[in-house]
Amino acid sequence: MGPFIAQFLTGLANAAALFLVASGLSLIFGVTRIVNFAHGSFYMLGAFIGYTVMQLLPGAFGFWSSILVAGLAVGLIGVIVEMLVLRPIYRAPELFQLVATFGVILVIQDLALITWGAEDLLGPRAPGLKGVIRILGEPVPKYDLALIAITPFILFALWYLITKTRLGVLVRAATQDREMVAALGVNQSWLFTGVFFLGAMLAGLGGALQLPKGGADLLMDFNILASIFVVVVIGGMGSLPGAFIAAVLISVLNVFGVRYMPQSTLVLMYVVMAVVLIIKPYGLMGRKEVAGEHGQVGEPEQPFSPFGRRGRLIVAVLLIALATLPFLGSKFAMILAIDIIIVCLFAASLHFILSLGGLVSFGHAAFFGGGAYAAALMVHYAGSPMELAFVLAPIITGFLAIIIGWFCIRLTGVYFAMLTLAFSQLLWSLVFQWGEVTGGDDGMVSIWPSPWASDTTVFFYLTMIIGFGGILVLRHAAHSPFGYALRASRDSAGRAEATGINTKRVQFVAFTFAGAMAGLAGTLFVFSKGSIFPTELEIGKSFDALIMVFLGGVKTLAGPLVGASALSLMQDYLTRFEYWRLALGLLIIAVVIIAPEGIAGTSQKLAARWGIIRRDEVQ
């Protein structure tokens, strides 16, 4: 009984920080409908700032006031982020906000690196709470007990704020009915800024409060990101009691998981999330999002048509030029080109469902990594030749997409995005923790192409054929009746359904098709590298694809190719510098705010304005 209770107490103590951070994220989403991916960064900043202030303020009083100071400071940073980055894009689709907050993550990572250095910081122990207390013979850290005692106060304070104050009334009104706030005559931007302050402050407090347990390091932002999203999604986005229940649930589950089934703690968390969402798609205490639809940004999308003769000629010339690369460039240039073609195919497959289908998936890496792992497993365990893997791995990925799509297509908007993220994380954690089969963190190696294709030049041509072949298939699908049905379902589901189109089925087929094409890209990837690691399934991989599509221009067919090439080249170039994240982050934020139509969209518009191309040639 003793160990059991001790475990349970540890779980409760861990829930304190998790709840603080998650409640901030939930509040921000509830009021502003922004999914703030930079929330983990606020948490990290709370830890670093708290650490620094604790060095200056001695004693117990210093310790606790440092936590408060850290919270307030991070709250102010949240206000700055809100005013500079998010205010211009409140009315934009989710994707814009995702990309912008991702830019903020990069910027904060480097600013933290510049300020505090790369060393992990060991958190100071809380003065007066250093030892342990024995409960039923088991040692329980005093600080854990303090955290357990504090949590109800935090919950009470938040409850008081939300139910008893004017800010709280507004927050609840905004969470439940967006139109009502405007009707109340409230200054909306003031409310949003206030909520951002509160939400960021809660994250900062959480970061500072966990210092004695975890310290501060530069990986904290992404490490907590997955957990707080799980908590917020399980609890129901926008619901504080939901976040509390889910934080306790996840924390306790984690502690027992570590103890009794250490190989599957991560899987467990995502399985719980998937199960909750399948039963209650809007979380335990969340409510169905009715309106949820965001308008298009800028001008409406232009109708598009297949390339005419001139366009085809240009594409042919470009492809031929690229095909001469082995004669001109170095081996390094060929490898870079292979990488770029592969991400182009990956980005194009995401673009297909995201842009034509209006389905913003946050978990497309599941299919890229899924295809790669399917191929690797076939080669490793069945001795399958490369040729067979190229046929079967995309098909297997297609089946994976059928399973994931079956659950996700029911939802729309942010909820669709979150559930796809959950499933891709579930797949990642499976691969990560099922080490006997997948090699876990060590990945799978020696997955080489067949002998005839192992030469870099040959593999380059193979990649060109398969990669551009896949892109052409995707492009053609966009111009086919099926692609039109997909756009019709996005443009006006009501009209589509009233003219015989089963919009959900069309989207389901498109999701499967895009998944299989991402799987093809993953298959190319694994043979080009000869190895595969769980990183290819991570959130970051899904975000990469989203940023590529966005950078290139969501509304153009050329967008994903331009964006993928641009981001790959930029990363290749920028990573030579120490603070490349800062530069890339600022660049991403600038594109979101200044040129939301992306590189391809903006240049097409300029070209049309300057008379270089006709308007109807815009692709």
């Binding site: 053609h476 699908a477 009746p481 099926f482 039109y484 049905a485 019709a488 009209r495 015989g500 189109i501």
Partner: protein, 259 residues
Amino acid sequence: MTSVLEVKELSKSFGGNHAVNNVSFAVGAGELLALIGPNGAGKTTCFNMLMGQLAPDAGEVLLDGENLVGLPPRAIWRKGVGRTFQITATYPSMTVVENVQMAIMSDKKRLFSFLPYARNLYREEAVTLLDLVGMAEQADRAAAILAYGDLKRLELAIALAHKPRLLLMDEPTAGMAPSERIKLMQLTADIVADKGISVLFTEHDMDVVFAHAHRVMVLNRGEIIANGSVDEVRDDPLVREVYLGGGTVFADKEESENA
């Protein structure tokens, strides 16, 4: 006259609000039937139940004797019912002609074709339909940049694409200039007379209704309070009371409500 559509004791309430209450009527073959009533009377709700967008609380909707209740809109469409919306619903990212082609592709069950270029499929048929509503010259413009009146005409062309037996038109002329309204309704009347399509339509503009409807029904607070010829309804004292008396007030130009 045989009836194409028969509606029996249809009801729907939102919370305690009886939006449509025990409504029964029939649409005859080739008939142009108007459903009028003040804002919030329940006209759009009624249409939503006929087309399957809303499930009725009670009642039956029979198309040539076959019950439609419980079917989704797409199935009802395939049975030969077309609909235009009070707030136009078209595909803004496509051209005008592609909007019509989309409906024809759906009718021909080509939605899951991967091979052909959609823009070449059924283009002639689509242009013929556009010509019918006077939109052929605008075939290759983007639907997103059309004037509102043209969007209404495009919707009509889309609704005709699968050769429907019955057309449901929710305020087909809302948002148009008065002269244009008469013209569009005249056009609609000619087309449906030519093709033998039955039409149920709602309308705010009484000039349009009295000029074209074969029969008029008046809905008020979810209940039908009058049903008869144009003259009968015009002279009905109850109807006059609902519209606050006087023939002139019939020309209620209010269009601010939503579908």
